[in-house]
Symmetry: C2
Subunit: 198 residues, 2 copies
């Protein structure tokens, strides 16, 4: 077998991407080297810069290269409505699909004791500080409809209850076991409008 | 909609990879930023280095970071047998699947006049110089079994004929219209053993 050196290393490096096996990784490496070196250089440069500069928003924990993200820095947003989601992608899709004008809190996951993911990993302390601050009148729990997502929503609803803040759960139309990220905007819109107390 | 700045740029950069749409690109960006920053840094670094250092082998035109690739630099290889393939991946798979011990020539494509790919783009000049040098007794044409791959094989066979060099075509067992890269090793082995004059 041929010793492929650097090319082999490149192919292995692409395997760190989700959904990319050795065959796809090989196609990616060849494609960039043979047909799109400029695109490859840009990917390398932007990736290094993103890893260097992108961190969590100090307020909502979304990924951003500024101290506060665009949403948190926007004074036109309704600070009384707080939507809690599992990932930044979920907040993007809610903004795009239904034009939600409140604010967000990103958990970066869901309660999953077996994987060692508890309240600390989800930033529940920071969330509780925001509830304590007093400006929030409703917390909308938009975690996924998986068992763990539901458990996470109930856990946060209890905390909201302690602070006498109304907690609602998006509910209508989302299929059980489905991941929020893959729901069409009409279903998501229904789910938002049909939210109820938990 | 939220202005995503650098994160948006990163997602767009991943879209330059083959088979990666906006949704997969988003998952890749989030995965690296949230769960595998070390893998991301390595990918960025190796990709930059590969684009800088990897070029074509001076003899066979495969991708390599040295002037001559491992195969061409290997004096144990049979210089009398030259296998012509469309891509470096094809030469790798032939080495792995059947332990071929001759040398290779990589076309980086196939004749395709509509796409502006003619003999110049495939390095036919360099190939003819190797045939002229006189050491080659057989040229094995292992281009894909597509219409263009077949036409390319016949084109090269004619050149070999001018130099009185035996040209064979791998043939047995490869389904018509199939891409060599996706053939199992047993079929490929049959095709090699059943090669015939063209
Ligand atoms: Zn924020
Ligand atoms: Zn070579």
């Amino acid at each position: 077998m041929q010793n492929r050196g650097l090319l082999k290393e490149l192919i292995q490096s692409f395997c760190c991407l989700p959904g990319v096996g050795p065959k796809s990784a090989q196609r990616m490496a060849f494609h960039l080297l043979q047909r799109n070196r400029q695109g490859g250089e840009q990917l390398s440069r932007i990736l290094a810069q993103a890893l260097q500069e992108i961190a969590y928003c100090a307020e909502c924990r979304t990924l951003t290269e500024t101290k506060l993200c665009e949403v948190c820095a926007n004074s036109q947003r309704d600070t009384g409505l707080l939507c809690v989601v599992e990932s930044p992608a979920d907040s993007w899709i809610i903004d795009q699909a239904i034009g939600f004008k409140g604010k967000y809190f990103i958990l970066h996951g869901r309660l999953s004791p077996l994987d060692g993911i508890g309240p600390d990993q989800l930033g529940i302390d920071a969330l509780e500080q925001r509830l304590q601050a007093g400006a929030i009148s409703e917390i909308i729990l938009a975690t996924n409809s998986t068992v763990e997502g539901q458990a996470t929503a109930h856990f946060i609803a209890e905390i909201a209850g302690k602070h006498n803040i109304r907690a609602t759960r998006i509910a209508y139309g989302i299929p059980m076991g489905g991941e929020l990220e893959f729901i069409d905007s009409s279903t998501l819109s229904h789910a938002f409008n049909g939210r109820r107390e938990i």
